[in-house]
Structure formats: C-alpha cells, structure tokens
Symmetry: C2
Subunit: 331 residues, 2 copies
C-alpha cells in the first residue's frame, strides 16, 4: 500500500486537522466527539442541514460545510458510519431553533446511527431524509434497498440554499425528498481502492476488466465485463438510469459527472461529452452540471453519472451562492 | 491500459469538446487551430494573459480560462507542446490592444514554439515570462535549466487579476517575473502515469518505492527511495525548497499542496497538515493556500508543494475575484 499517510489509524484525524487548518475561515473541526461545523454555527432562526457518513468520499461531506450548504458534517472512520454521539453533538451544535435536517445516505449503519442520534435529541426538532438514488442494485453489502450516492451532493446544495433563504423545516425537508425522488445515479470502476487500515485492495479487477454499478465502498455492482470505450460505458450507465425513471419528456436536468478519486479530469470531460450527446438524442436538456471529483471512493478509478430532473425552483436554489471548501460560487 | 476514453488519438479533442459543452458560459473552444478562449475575448483595452502547454495537466491550463485569470489557453497533445500556429491564433484572438503576456513553462518545446509565435505576431505587443520554479533538478529530459511547475498556476491567477484591474503590460509582466522569482516547488510520485498514445506506464516504480523530485511528465527526479511516512516526505520537499531561497524571515507565503491526479483529497490534507506544522516551526506564516488537484500528470499518484513568498500586493491580487472552471471565488 502506497499512500501519503503516517499511521493508517490516524488518517481521518490527521486529514481533518489539515482540513481545519486549511479552511479555518469557513469551518471548525471539533475532535471529541468528532464533527465539522460552520464557523458561525448555530445560525439563529435558520434551519440547519447536516449530513455524515464514512470518510474516504472527500470532499463529501466535510468539504460541503459552509454558507449555502451544510451546517455540519459528521465523518466516521474510512467507509464506517459515524456514531450516534457524534451525530447528536453535531445536531446540538447547529440547532438554531428552527429545526435540523439530517440527510442520510441509505446504508444500514448510517440509518441506525442517525435514528439513534435523533432519539437522543428529542428536545430538537429533527427531520431525516434517506437518500437512495443508485439504480445499480437492490440491496447490497451494507444496504437494504438502494444505495444513496450522488443525489446526496445535490440535496446538500439545494437544501442548504433553501435553509439560507429562510425556508422552514417542512419546506426544506420536502425539497430534500423531492431531490431524492427525482434523482438517479449509477457508477462504474476501472480499479479498486485500498482502505488504509486494510492495507490491500477491497476487491480485485483483472487488467482488462471493469465493474458496472459499483458501490462507493467497493460493494459489488451489476456485472463485470471487459473494459469498453467510454461511449459504451456512458451509454450503459445512462440507459439504466433512463429505464428507471421518467426523464425523457423534455424536462431539464442537473447532471453530475463524478470522478471516484483516481480518474484524471481529462477523462471526466470525455464522459461529460458522451453524456450530453446521449441526453440530447433523448431530448433531455442539461440545465446545470458539475464535472469533477465530488463524491469519491479514495483513489478508485472510475466515474458515476447522476441526473436530477429539476424544475425552476430547484434550478434557482442550485444557482444560489455557496461557499464551502468543495463547492463555491457567487461569493 | 484502462481509461475512460474512446480512441487514444482522440483524447484531447474529445475531452475539450466535453469541456466546451460543460463550460459554455465561460469559454469557447476553437478547434482549428486548437485553443481555448474567454467567451468575451478580446477585452478592449485590457492586457491579455495566456498560457499553454501539453495536455494531461488539467485543470491547467484550459481550466484557468475565464474572468480574473487567463484570456486563452493553448493545449498541445498529451505532454506535447502546442504548435506556433495555435499560439499565434490564440494571441491574436485575445489581443485587446493593450498587449499580450505569454506565461511559458520552462520546457524546450514550449519555449521554442511560444518564441516562434511571438515572431509571427509582430504587430501585437507580446511579452513573455518563463516559469522555472522546480528546485528538484537542473536540466532534465525536456528542459535546460529548471522546470516550470506550480508557480504557473499562481502566476496565472495573479497576472490575470492584475490585467483585470487595468494594469499595463509592463506592470503585469513585472508581476509575473516577481511571482516566478519568489516561488519554489518540488514534487514526488508514488506511481507513474500512462500516456494514452503510449499505452503503458511512462516509468516503473517498485511496489514500495517512490520518486522524489519527479517531473510533471514523469521525468526522473532526484532520487528513488522506499516509501516514507508523509511527515518525512513533506519534510524532504520543504527542506529542499527552503534551502534554495530566502523564505525563513517571517514573510508570509501563498502555499499550494497539489495532487498529481491520482491522489485522494483525504491524503492531500495530510500533506497540508505536515506543511503548515513544518512552516510554523520555521516561523513562516501561510497567508493563503490551495489544496487540491491544480496541475496534474494524468492519473499519477503523488503531490507537489509550492511556496510563494508574497507581499501585500500579491496577496491582494490573489484575493481578487476569479471565475474559471478550475478556480473560482468572489463571483
């Protein structure tokens, strides 16, 4: 295992120490129990939006803490759920009296621990939305039902903007459900990643193999097959997504082409090119897009495609200013 | 070779087609001859700042085209200099009557071709600054003298801001020389990268080896050694940089921790943590910083550290708003 680390057991803490030093103007990192919080939290009278999950998916979630997006993020160890006491402490730290929305990816450990944290915060108005946008598989290694993936990034941006506008907890929660309802994603991997504490690749792929429908922790996908040209790969991802939900009615989408951490940007734009051509042939305009590494799996090579069927309100919330370490525009 | 591409010979063109579709609000890509230009170019009365070089280093340079940074970028094939006709066309496209600054990385092919382009544009006031901040080696596979690396990103930001403020060509050029003069960089690699047209890794590194002082095209560095903890790696990089120039006098720096394309963000923050601790012990405050993938070598795993000894004017120019696909704040 070759990594830019000291001791595998210190990776998450030391990385967050560096993150705290680098972004002290935006965030504060509390280490016991561990969570990342907006420097100006709690914001009185504003709904707070928080999320969390295993580390190794950076910039998600800690990189999305800041004005216009998350009030706090709760990182677990690599690919490991955060604990209820962490989530409880973060919830209390951001509560400005207007309620706290938990955006939870559909993994069994995350669901359980966010639920336990909500029970520990009965004096705070907590709402939770479970994100489950991955069309690749039903049920998985760590999930009952569909996995939560790229929709999480879109939901964090849109709900963060809604909270910043002063929307109440019901409306912010409703928007989160709407984003999840209208989003579908699917990913693929060219290589595995190596969890530092494990010291070896999570799975093995042959020199000419890829895995379609991969999970963000390396959970098995739909099928393993010889590597194809990118136009075939994107076609498979997009056709699976379009077969699952009503996208092809001329409604615009917000599209995300996401790198899994080890894919160079030059390739992600090849993916985007195929995506835009393909959606055009289906009569689907792309209203907004992100192309980059937004939800990674350590150094895994591969990509995912996320499509959100978005009306005017969602697009307008998308365009609102955001200032976080991982996503920034308008300020 | 596993990559998200169609045909290796089409990688640069198809990637830039995707880039053009994704960022049509900011850039236009002209394909014959090939260059990337600000959508509102030429800006009358403003000094234009342009740069270029081989592809494979994304977001550099095309990702830095936009308000507050570059007026145009000229991409060559992967790790291959752009041709004089491309550079000439870009220079003419951005000339707003106030002169054009060429920011040129010190590689023999780039130098020659930018010089030839300047000769072809004798009716345009062209100034050129050669960037040579890499302390790793004197002379190299493609370079006489030191290689140009991370200082290029800083120079593009600062000179772009100066041009946007309305500074004249002498002043913008002087600032570029100042940035280059006060910047030092060094990088290291854990893995090689694979040029698509070559189809195999540029060099071989053993399973437990790293290369200190690597060039951004995989040119040999200073030494090959067993992988060390990140604290030792950063110490070697920083001590080589500090031994080369007068940094340790309490003057603040702009610091960049740059990933080479295949390094996950979680590791780059570990690098940043070591860097800030180490500079603190030398009495050097970090005034501003970038942590991320800003100047890559395809999917190479590794990092580089860049330090710019910056006075108030440079920091103020750094803080000016910028809106490009690869770097954005304040608008």
């Amino acid at each position: 295992m070759k990594k830019l680390i000291n001791d595998p057991k210190d990776v998450v803490r030391e990385s967050l120490e560096g993150f705290a030093l680098a972004h002290a103007d935006i965030v504060e990192v509390v280490f016991d129990p561990l969570y990342v919080v907006r420097r100006d939290a709690p914001v009185r009278g504003k709904v707070a939006v928080i999320s969390g999950g295993g580390s190794g998916h950076e910039p998600m979630h800690s990189g999305y803490v800041g004005k216009g997006m998350l009030d706090a993020a709760i990182p677990g160890q690599v690919f490991t759920s955060p604990t209820p006491d962490q989530i409880e402490a973060a919830t209390r730290a951001v509560d400005g009296g207007a309620g706290v929305l938990h955006i939870v990816k559909n993994y069994t450990g995350d669901i359980l621990n966010f639920e336990m944290a909500a029970e520990l915060c009965q004096d705070v108005e907590v709402q939770a939305v479970v994100i489950n946008d991955d069309v690749a598989v039903e049920d998985s290694l760590y999930t009952a039902g569909r996995r939560g993936v790229g929709a999480t990034v879109l939901a964090e941006k849109i709900c963060g903007a809604a909270a910043e506008r002063g929307y109440d907890i019901e409306r912010v929660t409703g928007l989160c459900r709407e984003v999840n309802h209208h989003t579908r994603s699917m990913g693929m991997a060219l290589t595995s990643c190596t969890v530092p504490a494990a010291g070896k690749p999570t799975f093995e792929l042959g020199a000419h193999e890829m895995e379609m429908g991969i999970g963000i922790h390396g959970e098995p996908g739909r099928e393993r097959m010889p590597v194809q040209p990118v136009r075939e790969i994107v076609k498979r991802l997009v056709e699976t997504i379009l077969a699952d939900a009503a996208f092809a009615d001329g409604h615009p989408v917000i599209a995300m082409v996401n790198g899994l951490g080890g894919t160079p940007v030059i390739e992600l734009y090849l993916v985007y090119r195929e995506l835009e051509h393909l959606l055009k042939s289906h009569g689907i305009p792309i209203a907004r897009r992100l192309v980059g590494n937004y939800m990674t799996s350590l150094e895994m090579a591969g990509c995912s495609v996320t499509l959100l069927r978005a009306g005017e309100e969602l697009i307008s919330l998308w365009d609102d200013p955001v200032r976080t370490p991982g996503l920034r525009w308008g300020m």
